[in-house]
């Protein structure tokens, strides 16, 4: 039941922020976010059964929410990142801004806990809307076009996925199954070989666009670039995980044989994305875009882990999803603070800032190092597991992945050195102040915790992964 409370509080909270005084919106949203974190800790202690009641009986649709190892930590990522994003936002952005942020949290929480395909789809589209409005109203003129691009590209994939969702349920009724959208039941489906590729493609397209995977990232540079920093943090930290989560939650159980059949193609796609993202990151001069393409590269890495179809690779991907969310989100927020202080995102325009803002530089360095996979920090753990999974399948991909890791160090440190080090040309900025430190420190602490104690996530994720693996075995796939 705690999952439902989580959702209810997020939804009610988002509405509450609409009615508080304009100046108090940020405070209210922050309190609601904190409440959600407390609720989430309760959920962590008592994972419980979730809820499963009929919703639209005529169509076999159930209101089925739950949290297992796969989703539990993604829920945590959502509540933490949203709270950080709220705290990093400006009070003058107004009630609507905080409403949309909390509504986005509601959608994301629902997305990560839905166990009914229809319900999943509802939340899948719901999360598009807050981002659309956040881009429309709280960014520049180009934000409008970015918003349009975001919504239309994502809905392009999603609507075809809707056909896939319904098709899967319809196929399940033939010859005499019940009409149901339960993911667990649909996993036992045997589909006609003529239609399966199409349905597979419909699902894949939707997830790949939202992640985004190369070459479906057309909306990404605009949206990441135009959104306010906290929103970018949520986009890269939480939303990108939704696409990857879809691969794990929906596609692996339903389409394991197809995954095996198309494995080489999928791995190639992911590797191209990995390399492409890294090269693009190297070429950028805008520090936000460097990080955006870095994120694209990281998502390619996570996808590699999933497409390796080995237990360890998938486990690594699951871990990396959570870790990457925290790290990249933190990095985007730090960059946002930096942009706010210097008024620019151009690397060449900034020099030697660490003289005047040593604390900011330190946290920047910490998150940059975390994303590039320094041992002892969580990025390393996830990437290690993914590469281990890749080695089991195809060494070539593993080698490429390792090379890209080296590139990652290069482009990340290039940004850091360009901005923070080098000759001090008298540019002086404000360092981090107390209120900001209060929430950056816990975030950094959380990242550190994941790095030194990855077992916490992996141990909890393993049983549900075994569950998935068991399903693969039923369907005749190998592991």
């Amino acid at each position: 039941m705690l999952v439902v409370w989580l959702l209810a509080v997020a939804l009610a909270g988002s509405l509450v922020t609409l009615w508080v005084p304009r100046q108090g919106a940020k405070v209210a949203a922050g309190i609601i976010g904190a409440l959600l974190i407390i609720l989430y800790i309760g959920l962590l202690l008592h994972p419980g059964q979730g809820v499963n009641v009929p919703w639209i009986p005529a169509w076999g649709i159930r209101f089925h929410l739950g949290s297992d190892g796969l989703s539990l930590f993604l829920l945590g990522l959502t509540v933490v990142m949203t709270e950080v994003a709220i705290l990093a936002s400006k009070p003058e952005w107004g009630r609507m801004y905080y409403f949309w942020i909390l509504f986005l949290e509601f959608g994301s929480l629902g997305l990560f806990s839905a166990l009914d395909l229809f319900l999943f789809y509802i939340f899948w589209e719901i999360v598009l809307i807050p981002i659309f409005f956040l881009l429309t109203s709280w960014s520049g003129v180009k934000g409008r076009r970015a918003a349009m691009k975001w919504l239309i590209m994502n809905l392009f994939g999603s609507l075809f996925m809707l056909i896939g969702v319904v098709a899967v349920a319809v196929i399940h009724t033939q010859p005499f199954g019940p009409l149901t959208f339960e993911i667990a039941q649909l996993a036992h489906l045997h589909m006609d070989a003529r239609v399966t590729p199409w349905i597979f493609a419909a699902f894949f397209l939707a997830f790949a666009i939202k992640a985004p995977l190369w070459p479906f990232h057309g909306w990404m540079p605009d949206a990441y670039g135009e959104a306010p920093a906290p929103v970018t943090a949520l986009l890269a930290g939480v939303m990108s995980k939704a696409g990857v989560y879809g691969f794990l939650r929906i596609m692996l159980p339903l389409f394991f044989p197809e995954f095996v059949r198309y494995q080489t193609g999928l791995l190639t796609l992911a590797v191209i994305g990995l390399v492409y993202g890294a090269f693009m990151a190297l070429r950028q001069t805008d520090m936000k875009m460097v990080t955006a393409y870095a994120s694209l590269s990281h998502i390619g890495m996570i996808a590699l882990g999933i497409f390796s179809l080995t237990r360890v690779g998938i486990l690594g991907a699951t871990f990396q999803m959570v870790a990457h969310g925290l790290m990249i989100g933190g990095l985007f927020i730090i960059l946002g603070l930096l942009e706010q202080r210097t008024g620019s995102r151009d690397i060449s325009a900034m020099h030697g800032l660490n003289a005047s803002a040593p604390r900011l530089a330190a946290y920047f360095l910490f998150f940059a190092l975390a994303t590039l996979g320094l041992p002892g920090l969580p990025g390393f753990v996830g990437e290690y597991l993914i590469i281990q999974g890749l080695v089991a399948h195809e060494v070539a991909f593993a080698v490429i992945a390792i090379i890209v890791l080296v590139m990652a160090a290069w482009y990340m440190l290039r940004v850091f050195q360009g901005v923070m080090q080098g000759p001090d040309r008298g540019q002086s900025i404000l360092d981090l102040k107390a209120p900001q430190v209060w929430w950056i420190v816990p975030l950094a602490g959380l990242v550190l915790l994941l790095g030194v104690w990855p077992n916490g996530v992996t141990a909890a994720a393993v049983p549900s992964l075994y569950h998935a693996v068991h399903l693969f075995a039923v369907k005749g796939g190998g592991v």
Partner: protein, 471 residues
């Protein structure tokens, strides 16, 4: 139950037409009196329809098969009465269109109700004409050049399409020897060329009324020129009536011979969804945009009919409701924003988000419902249609539906983004009106309600479409 009892909603409405006319003669605030009488008439008819719906489950065939009262016709009654109530409330206190406005709306709604219970071609024809004649007048009643043009265009195309329809009905009569849909069913096994020709002409006539591509060219001009409250009635009520009779005619009279019409309807549905939404994209006048959007939505409705299945019939019937709520809401906002003006362009919407946040929020919800975003009724309706198409094993229809939805997105999102632009300070701030606020509130509650918990309505619709002899 007696026929008197079963047709009470229609009798009541006809009686209130006369009462309203009498009310017009009463000295005093004539428009106010007429509006109240009309509203009471529509509401009482609504209540009676609902109560008969809840007790009557068996179809009753009256007048030698001319009239069939069943849950289907009663549900259609509820839909069109909703549209009528919306029109009265949106036009509340408006003296521009004359005090006969209310009586004409009532007559038109009566025509739509007649279409819902038509059991033979005579009643079909009468229903269409009772529906159309008052709308011709209402379309022309705006005292502007555009208003007259709208009425004239509507009239000429209406007379033309009724002529086609009539000739089709005549050929069907010649081929089958009967006017009653129930008799058609047993006679259509052997298709003769004359029956085929009659069926095609009849369908063309109905498609004109429904606004199916390529018979849609009148829609945008007529919508643009008519008074907004009347346009709402055309967009919602007429569509319900035409869709209801199309479904009854095909799935009742021709249910055994879908090979004659199923594929053709499928292609037209896809064409309509794509062309309608595509043409909506560049529109800047909100009424024209809604007109093209209405064409696109007629295509969605046609999907339900084209599947020729029970699910399709139910899905089409269900889709009418979220569409209708969205139309009600959109026109309510349009009337607020228009004020004394005739037309609303996208630039008139600028700044609404900061000047009237609640109005803007409601408008956004309505537009999202048009676009079919979850938690609004539009999504559930499209989901039902998609389900019906795939259950009928027609993925082409499903893909057409999705492509149409995607194209429509651009059209519905541009007005939404316009809300957030800086306001044009020279324009007056839109004012709420009581009638419009009621309509808007009902539309929003309906839209969100259907999106979040559609179960009761799904149940109701499923029960209402049960009379079809389909499986």
């Amino acid at each position: 139950m007696s026929s008197m009892h079963l047709m009470l909603p229609e009798y009541l409405l006809a009686g209130f037409v006369l009462l309203t006319l009498v009310g017009n003669m009463v000295v005093g605030d004539r428009v106010r009196v007429a509006s109240w009488l009309g509203l009471i008439g529509l509401l009482s008819s609504f209540v009676v329809s609902a109560s008969i719906w809840s007790v009557s489950l068996k179809p009753a065939v009256l007048l030698n098969g001319g009239v069939v009262v069943d849950n289907y016709s009663l549900l259609v009654n509820l839909f069109v009465l909703l549209a009528g109530i919306g029109a009265i409330l949106l036009g509340w206190g408006e003296t521009r269109w004359g005090q006969e406005f209310v009586a004409l709306v009532l007559v038109s709604v009566l025509g739509m109700m007649i279409l819902g219970l038509a059991g033979n071609t005579i009643v079909l024809f009468l229903g269409i004409e009772v529906l159309s004649l008052p709308l011709y007048i209402l379309a022309a009643s705006e005292h502007t050049a555009a208003g007259g043009e709208a009425g004239l265009k509507y009239l000429l195309l209406g007379a033309f399409s009724s002529g086609i329809l009539l000739f089709g009905l005549a050929l069907l009569y010649g081929a089958l020897g009967s006017l009653s849909f129930i008799n058609f069913a047993s006679l259509t096994n052997v298709g003769t060329p004359m029956m085929w020709a009659g069926l095609s002409l009849t369908l063309v006539g109905i498609f004109f009324k429904l606004g199916i591509v390529p018979f849609h060219m009148w829609v945008p001009d007529v919508y643009e020129g008519s008074p907004s409250a009347v346009t709402q009635l055309m967009a919602f009520g007429t569509k319900v009536g035409a869709a209801a009779i199309l479904l009854r005619f095909l799935d009742f009279g021709f249910y055994l011979s879908p090979q004659w019409w199923g594929p053709a309807l499928g292609y037209l549905a896809v064409l309509t969804m794509i062309v309608g939404n595509l043409l909506a994209l560049p529109q800047t006048d909100l009424k024209r945009l809604l007109g093209y959007s209405g064409i696109g939505h007629a295509g969605f409705l046609l999907v339900g009919v084209a599947t020729h299945s029970l699910d399709g019939a139910r899905a089409m019937l269900f889709y009418l409701l979220p569409y209708g709520f969205a139309v009600l809401g959109a026109f309510a906002v349009l009337i607020f924003v228009a004020g004394n003006q005739d037309s609303v362009t996208l630039s008139d919407l600028k700044g609404l988000a900061s000047r009237r946040p609640l109005m803007a929020a409601f408008f956004i919800i309505v537009m999202l419902s048009f676009a079919g975003i979850p938690l609004t009724g539009g999504f559930v309706g499209k989901f039902y249609l998609l389900q019906a198409a795939l259950f009928a094993n027609q993925p082409g229809l499903a893909i057409g539906l999705v492509v149409g939805t995607l194209l429509g997105l651009g059209a519905y999102l541009r007005p939404v983004q316009a809300l957030f632009s800086p306001a044009d300070e020279s324009r007056p701030v839109p004012q709420w009106t009581v009638g419009g606020a009621i309509v808007l509130a009902v539309a929003i509650i309906g839209t969100i309600g259907l999106g979040v918990y559609p179960t009761p309505i799904v149940h109701m619709v499923n029960q209402s479409a049960n009379f079809f002899w389909l499986h």
